[in-house]
Every structure is written in structure tokens, then in C-alpha cells.
Symmetry: D2
Subunit: 339 residues, 4 copies
């Protein structure tokens, strides 16, 4: 860390800062500038509370960390990219895996038929919500365990890997029983008891970025899961909240190449939530693959007009199939393989 | 709702939209404009999934709701403001209640001594984290049940109402046993199982706004609690995430008068998290009272330099006392009472 | 427009709103709902000040426009896409045009050599700042007219179309004398006297989106230019300001497919300013093409280490050439042509 | 500056960075950490292009400035607060100056009558737009010189200081002839030719913060004016663009105490644009004064319903008078004087 002293900090205050740095097990290094003095703190600065402590010292202006605060997620810790393989779903290591399906599981016929349709188009994972976090308590909250059973039937019928959301630590065993990949939703990215419970299940986790999370917070959330010993974490960019009002969320695809420079974890993009409008989804799916994403998670509904949630951002099976054909061309152009 | 049809929508498509509106139990009303046709949907538009359904219709451009989606929280439902009174803490009905204390409970001596100091300065509630949500898994996570016991001792010693965070549904009974007000943290504003479990406890709930939540989402989160039958909800503005980099969060105080126009629930402000810097806290506390807040929640630590978390945003007891003196003057200027 | 009346609006207030709508030359249409009354205003609602006027009426809650406020820029006005062709630069109509060059023109040798290098790699336009808007008054402000002369020499040597920024209305004639495309920078997107002066010059205009501009404001800025009779406007997405701190700006590529649905004007992307880091530029260039952009504007410097401005976001000529090879593959995959 | 080297930077790369720092006239200081090496650059780091240059070096991860980039605006340069006094308008030095008036000058009777009304309520400055920057080219653009003449008549009739916007460098002499304070609007905060022309006029300048400007950019814009030798700059916080959709802009009042810690320039707040709704203006005016603002600029229209622009955010004279009475109480509570 670099501890920047206030203008006019006295030698005694500087010395106090240096001593506190040493007391934390770091090595202090005073640099007297022409206007300000800074004290460098050399060593593993990720000491619990070190930054907060130094920031609260009397003549300290601010404290700038040098090291990233996450460790296990870091590319510096593990240089080879992590690839995930669950059932037929392959994400990473040159493979683009596509997870598709409806926002909510509505009934058995619906989910089985969608599963077959998206599989035919090339998807290897099936998404579908059984426990649904909804902004309004008056909206449809999902079929819960019945929905999970229907997902399991769809898996049986197609061999697709099941990806579904888990909303509370106490649901992890139940949801885990029926599914292959546990999804942590954007609203729960910093629900730490949930991250830990999900991590401890040993299941593959798809972690969605919170709509106001920085990259550092996103990777620290992944770190909560990785710290349980679970190595199978897929990051998912799904859009952030900004002033833009023509989309539901702003989809910042630069996250993809940036994360590739910082972490070994695979990255998928959700262009459905990331735009909120089905007419914008295919273009953003192509862009995701072009900039290096390892996969996609896309909403597809056989009859978007009658979807019980998020119909306006769901593709029809025909639109999905067309998108997949175009995605394969872009994937080939960037040297990737798609099922 | 107003359903705006796409340019060039055919009469058949307009009629289909109208029929779907009627099918939802609303009454359709077609208005043919010079450039576009819109269809008004008259009735209680908060029908489950109605907006999504209409948005997904073929020639529909977009759907604009007319009514606020929350009901119990609405000032239209309950015209007289809700006031909260727990132990000596009075929030609302002309009273400004101040909750103060350290970010984390660290040991018995610390919490009891802070409790006495803030009480002497006029606080009627004591804050202090026992279960701490922390961005990094490597940061101090709180003393958990031991911390709760210490809070209970501080209550015994001072009579202050205890306000502390609960992070998971399964912790609600435990945390509820020791405290007077359950705090739902900003990261958990949309943790719906937690909102419901907290609501069902019957305890007073202090609900913090999520850093990227709109006012509507904030009130819908309150609605989740209110829907359990629990009427004692305090809203807390604690800052939003924006591009500003000179503060930890942007504190949008306009929320206070805006919420007063929309809801009967009382509103407190957290200028500590809302700025992230102790030197900015007193000015924003004064501003909060001036614009109509019913209370404050403020971090105070006897020795911010050695705080185990958030030291840089904690006031010293002396600074807190000075702030309270100034707050009382502003409260008087706007016709409010402070302990 | 839809005028939403406040709860409890009296019949007289509703009638007054209806009369005001009629007075504005629109046709009012009252719809009495179960909870609220709305009044539709049918006709060309883009009457000067109509929305503001109706919003200020006594019992009006809010006013929702139905029509987009821009006209000439609208795809509804002109259905066939506008393509731009200046010198060898072709943007739109299936052609992807790439404008490349240094942030600032530094000397003749530099600009001529870069021009040759980027031309060799496939660029058909040359960018380079002569008048530089800089955040700090202490930063390099550009070579001004001398820089323009150097750009003209580079054009002579290569046949590339020159794209350079104009910062003030009184500079338009001078800058226009030397260049083919006048760039309006992001900071000046709502500098209306400049938009008008640039438009009146008849030159092709490259209009950059302001970092906090909505799509509607962006298209209205274009409308200022189009209204002068100038039809040659290129829109440029260059990133918006959000809370993200790992990039200089957030690059919201969804703008590209969205704008394609709203306007006939061609759209280019600036991945250099849109990320601020050269290592992220190539991936975002590929993504831009994949999602439908008509062109790119990219910073290339022969020696980024010694660039007088923005070195950290400039590609080396070698990196640019590699990027262009990859771009051509993605362009082919989406059915576009690149020089 | 602190230059952070990439992990695995070679000794030769570190040495190169150190040499480049020395070559810029700063003094390098290498600190070898356990994981990374950083090189401190001691001296006046505000050397032109120094940060960009160092950032573009081969093994440099990033460069963190230590010093604020503005100089003349800094509280470190001038410790006593700057107070402005123009006609009867006093801003700073314990005085709260209030500038009030319509968004646009509409006719002589209107502006003279508003001037008298706001003066009676305690305003000492009169605002009113003659040149109006409007988002849409189809909106009312102001009466231009005729409007200026009307403002001069209002000044004659009341003695209020006239505050009006100037939009282009070539209008500075004309606008300056009729007015006491030149306003630079939010859209033009980074219109550098305009800042310089306005500064050189010697007139007092009211500089509005751009809706996506950081505090540093805001103070650097002020620096452009101050650098011309003009010392009379008033900063104006008028709201920023965020995801909040219940207000026109988010009004981040923490700017006020923050700026007080960084600059000697006086700060006023514009709660009219900062909220966009007249019903929210009085509360935010009170909050502005409570947190230390030196003044207010507020829209008042004798008949908001018939205002030619921004009617919905204008107060009636009666509402303004009531607000002023309340403001005086809060001003007294924080030890300030109001006319």
C-alpha cells in the first residue's frame, strides 16, 4: 500500500504511520516529496483491516492498495485457464458453451419441449427458474420444488446440463439434488452465507455479477466460493445499472477481455438480462463471442407472448436457432469451437 | 398501463393487444394517433405478469405503467405517517431518532463504553455489527453470537434500543433474541427470503437501500416485509453507486422529500456509509435533518484509529457530540424534536 | 403524450388538462381509470414546450411522451440506411471503414509515417488531433493550424480521409479547409452553436456521444446538425461514465444494434477511448464489428511510450495490423466488407 | 506519482521506468515489494503528459497520482475562502446569496415583475436565460439580445445582480455587456474555448458542474478560468446523471463539504435542475444551506403553468417566499447570514 500523508503532516505523524505499518507486519518506507510525504508499506498488504486502520490515522490523506485483494481467483495464482465440463456443457478451453431456456419453469410440457428445441439448435445447458427472485412480491415466484422436478425430467429427456438459481442457503441441498450448475443471481452476488453454502455443496457455480459490482467485488465474491475449496466457478456478466434508459441494463462487454487478464475463471455473458429486449439479444451474443466470452446464457421461450416472466427479452426457438448459426460463424472467426 | 404499438402495427395487431388486455381483466381503450396507436389498459394493472405479457406481444413497442407497483407502503393506502417507537428510540411523528455506535462490536468494554458516550450525546439507539457482511472473505466477519451478547449488555447498561444486522434467514431467531431492530443491509435489500423471515419475526426492521436500487425497487423491498403483516419498517438511505470517486457512495438526499411524497414509512439517513469519510459526516447529518429525515444512523468509535472495520468513516465521541449539538439547532429550525 | 393525473384530481382539473392539450393543437382523450385518470394527447406531440407545459399543470403527476423527439435522424423518416463515402473511407452499406491514427498530431514525420502504416494495415481514414480538448489546462493542447497542415500532407501522401476535431464555431472554416470529416468531441456533443456551425459547413460530421448522454439526447444532437441541411452525419459510440473503475469509460455496445433500430445514420465505435487501455482495444473492436458497427476509430501511435497524449490507450502499428487481420475475419463472418 | 510495475517486471524494465521518471525531472525511488515493485516519482508530478507517458511504458501496470492536478483553485494555494460580491449579491464569507428567476426571459413585464417578487423575498441575484441551450433543436432557444436588454431593465428596476448563461466564445462580449455574472452551463463545463473567453472578460463566472464530471474535472474546469487571471469564480453543484429515475438529476450534496476541503472558491447549489421537480426544491434548498453552501440558484416563475421552459421545476413566487423564510432559519442555525 501507499499511504499518502496530508499536506503539513508533522515528522511525528509520519513516523507514527510508519510504525503502524511495521506493527501490521509490513515494512514501511518513507518517501519525502516536494509537497507531500508518502509512506510505502511493503509486504502482503491483504492483512485484515490494514487499509481501514491506516486510513483512520490522524494525518493520513488516503491509502492506495497495490495488490489485488483476491488471491485464489487471480491469474497470478493459477496461470492456466479453468475450463468447466458438466454433462455435455463445456465452457472454456476453446469451447463456447450455450445455456438456453425459459426465464421460469412453467410446466413439464413447456420445459421438456424447450429443452429439445434448444438442444437441437446447439445448446448444451438448460436454464429455467424454479425459485424466482422477483422485484415485486406480487409477481410469480416460481414453481419451487415442482419446477426442479420438471427440470430433472428435461435433463433425462435431453442430456442437457441443468442450470438453475438458488436463493437461500437452506435451499442449497434441495436445489443441488436436481441440478448440475447452481446459479447465484445478480441480487445475491454479495449474499455471503449463500456463496459459502453453494460453494460447500461442491456443485459447479454460475456466479452472476451484481448490477453495481466492480470487477474487484465480483472477483471477491468468487473468492468466497473458491475459499470453500470449490474450484468450479463460472463468472457471468449480465449488465450493470447506469443512466441508460433504452435498455434494462447496460452490458459492459469490456468485462470479458478484462477478466481474462485478471482471472483464470471462465466467463459467460447473459445478453437477455444484459439488454432486456429480445431484438437486441442476437447482436450482443455475437459481440460476446467476438470479444472472447467462453459461453452464453440466453432466454428462450416457445411462446414469449405467454411467458410468465420476462417474455419481452426471450427469443423464440426460431430466433435462437438463427442466432446460433451466426454465433458459430463468429466463433470460427475467432478460433473457438461451438457444439 | 399504456401499450404503445409499433409504427405500422396492423389493425389486427392492435385488436389482438386490446383483446389480451381484456383477457387480463383490464379494460382496453384504443386511441388512434396521427403516427402511432396506443391502447390504454384501465383497471388495477398490477396483475401478475401483465406488463411482461403485453410487452412481448408482436407489434408492441413498449408498455408504460401508470400506477406505482407497491401498495401497502404507499401513502395512497395509508395517509398518516408511520412512527416507530422502540425503547427510547423515536423515529417519525416530529421526532428525530439517532442511532449511533461502532461498525463492529469488538469487545464488551468497547461497546458498553461507546453506548454510554453516544447516549450522553443524545443517541437513543445503539448500532453495532455482530454478523458483518464484508466484501472480502479475508476481512473480519464479526463476533457473531458473542457480539450479540455484548450488545445486550450495552442495552442493559444504557436502555438504548439495539440495532444490528441480520444476514441470513436462519439467523433471524438468534439475532432477534438480542436486539430491538433488525437491520437488513444494503447488499441484502433484494434478498427476498431474508426480507420475509425478518418480517415474520415481528421485530422492527431497518431496511437499507441497495446501492443500485431505484425508489420503486426500494419500496417493493419494503412491501415484501409489510406483506408479512409487519408494520414497523424504517427506510434507510445510505448512498448509491455512481461515477463519483471522491466519496465511497453518492448520498442522494432528495430521496428523503421524495419518499415523504410516496410512502408513510419513516426515513433515516446513514451519512457514514453515505460518504465513507468521517470529515464529511457532520455536514451531511445536518443536511439530512434539514430536508426532512426522521433520524440518523451514524458510526461512532471511541478510537477510530484502532477500529476493526470502517475506521475512516467513524466519528470520535467528541466529534459526534459536537455534531449532535449542531443537529439539534437545525432540527429546531425545521420544527422537529431531538432527544 | 399521455398525461397522468394525480390521485384525487378533480373533474375540473382533468378538464383543464384536456383543454390545454387541445389549445396546443393536439386532440385530448380522457380515460377514467379505477384509480387514476389519464388524458391522451393525440397528434404531433413535438410541439415546442408542450411536455413542459403539461407537466406544470396543477394536478398532473407526470407526462409520458409517445413519439421520439427527433425527426430527420429517425428511421421512420428515412428507411434506407445512410452510407458515407469520403475519399477512400466508406462507412455503411455493408462496408466497415476504419479510421486510425495518433491521439495528437505531433510532427510531420510522425503523422505521415503513421498514415502510411495504418493505410498498409487497411485503414481508409486518418485521425489525429490538432485542436485538443484537455481536461487540464496544463496538458498539451495540440499544434493547432500547424497540426492541420501536417494532416493535409499526410492526406497527400496516402489518400486517406482526414478526421479531426473542431472545438469552437469560429474554428470551423479553418479546420474545414484542411480536413474531410469534422469530429465533434464527446465534451461538445451538446455545444449547440458548434453543432450548427459544423453542420452548415457541409462537411461530413463525426459526432461522438457525450459520456452521460442518453440515446435520445445523442440523436437530438445529430438532429441539430441534420436540421442545417447537412445529411452526412456519422454517429460514434465512445463510452459512457459509470461506476466502473477498471476502465476509463464503460463501452455500451448495445448502442449499436439499438441505434440501427432507430436511425438511418451509420455508427462507428471508438474502442480506444471506450476502454482507455490498449490491451482491451482489439477485443472490443472485434465485438463492435460483430454487433453491427459500420466502422471503427482507433488510436495508433508508432511509439506509444513517447506519445504526447493518451499513450496508454494507443496501439502500436504491429498490434493494429494484427487487430485488422482479426477484424476482417469477423467482418466476413457477419457478411460485411472491409478494405 | 506511484508507478506500479507489472508482476514479473524485469530489473531492466524497472530501471527503464526509473530513468524515464528522472528524465521527466522527477526523482525516482524504487521500492521492491514481496510481490510487486513500485517506483515512486518525487517532485511536481504535474509535468505535462508525465502520467500518460509512464502509463505507456512496457511493464507498467498503472500510475497513481499523489497530488491534485489543479493548482490555483486549491485550498493549499490560497487558504482563505474567496467571497464574491457583485451589486447586492454576496456569496461566501458567511453570507448566503440567493439568485432566483425564471428559466427563460420571456418578455419585459415577466422579467421585471419576477425580479421585484424575488427581491421582495430576499434574493439578491436575478437569473434568466436569454441564450438557452436546449436538448432539442425544436425547443425554444431564448430571446437572445432582446432577452439581455430585458434583464438589464430588470436590474435597473431592482438593483439585483444579473446572472445569465453564455453559450459561445463569440457571445461573451455581448452577454457581458448586459450582465454581472456570466453563467457557464453544465453542458459547457468542458467547453474550453468558452471557459477561456469567459475568464478573459474579467466578469464574475458561475461555473456549473457537468452532469458526469468528477470533482477533479470540475476544479480543472475552474482552473481554466482562473488561469486567465480571473479570480471571481463561483462553483455550482446542479446534479449528476445516475440511474435514478424519479428525479431529473441526482443532487449529490456531499460535493459541498468536500469542495470546502479542497478549494477556496465559493459553492452554490441549484436545487431546481438538481431535482427537476418544484415540490422537491424547498427541502433540498434547506439541505444545501445546512451542509455549508454559500448560496442558491433557484427557478421562480410567476406562472409556472405557462413558462416557456422548465415550468415543472419552477417555484411560484409564493412558494419561493415560503422557502426563503425557512432557509433563513436554517442559515441562522448554522451561523450564516442571509439577506
Amino acid at each position: 500500500m501507499i499511504v499518502v500523508m496530508k499536506l503539513g503532516a508533522t515528522p511525528a505523524q509520519v513516523q507514527h504511520a510508519a510504525e503502524e505499518i511495521d506493527r501490521l507486519g509490513l515494512k514501511s518506507h518513507v518517501i519525502v516529496g516536494t509537497e507531500r510525504t508518502v509512506v510505502a508499506a511493503v509486504g502482503d498488504e491483504r492483512v485484515e483491516g490494514a487499509k481501514q486502520h491506516l486510513e483512520s490515522l490522524d494525518a493520513v490523506e488516503n491509502v492506495m492498495p497495490i495488490l489485488a485483494p483476491y488471491k485464489i481467483a487471480s491469474l497470478e495464482t493459477k496461470k492456466e485457464p479453468t475450463a468447466v465440463e458438466v454433462m455435455k456443457l463445456r465452457i472454456g478451453a476453446g469451447n463456447i458453451g450455450v445455456i438456453a431456456g425459459p426465464c421460469s419453469v412453467e410446466d413439464e410440457a413447456q420445459i421438456v419441449s424447450v429443452a429439445k428445441l434448444v438442444k437441437a439448435a446447439g445448446a448444451t445447458g438448460l436454464r429455467g427458474g424454479a425459485f424466482k427472485p422477483r422485484t415485486s412480491p406480487y409477481s410469480f415466484q416460481g414453481l419451487k420444488e415442482k419446477g426442479l422436478e420438471m427440470l430433472a425430467l428435461a435433463r433425462e429427456a435431453t442430456g442437457l446440463a441443468i442450470v438453475t438459481e438458488v436463493m437461500a442457503p437452506e435451499h442449497v441441498p434441495l436445489v443441488g439434488k436436481y441440478t448440475d450448475v447452481l446459479q447465484i443471481g445478480a441480487r445475491n452476488m454479495q449474499n455471503y452465507p449463500l456463496l459459502e453454502a453453494a460453494g460447500e455443496s461442491g456443485k459447479t457455480i454460475l456466479l452472476k455479477r451484481g448490477p453495481s459490482a466492480t470487477m474487484e467485488e465480483f472477483l471477491l465474491a468468487a473468492e468466497y466460493i473458491l475459499k470453500t475449496g470449490n474450484k468450479n466457478v463460472i463468472l457471468c456478466e449480465r449488465g450493470i445499472r447506469t443512466f441508460e434508459d433504452h435498455v434494462r441494463f447496460t452490458l459492459p462487454l469490456t468485462s470479458v477481455p478484462y477478466l481474462k487478464q485478471k482471472t483464470h475463471l471462465p466467463i459467460v455473458v447473459d445478453p437477455s438480462h444484459g439488454t432486456g429486449k429480445s431484438s437486441l439479444v442476437p447482436a450482443m451474443a455475437l459481440a460476446s463471442i467476438a470479444c472472447g466470452a467462453d459461453g452464453l446464457i440466453v432466454e428462450v421461450h416457445p411462446d414469449p407472448e405467454h411467458a410468465m416472466s420476462d417474455g419481452s427479452q426471450s427469443l423464440t426457438p426460431a430466433a435462437f436457432q438463427k442466432m446460433m448459426t451466426e454465433c458459430r460463424k463468429v466463433a470460427a472467426a475467432v478460433g473457438k469451437t461451438m457444439a
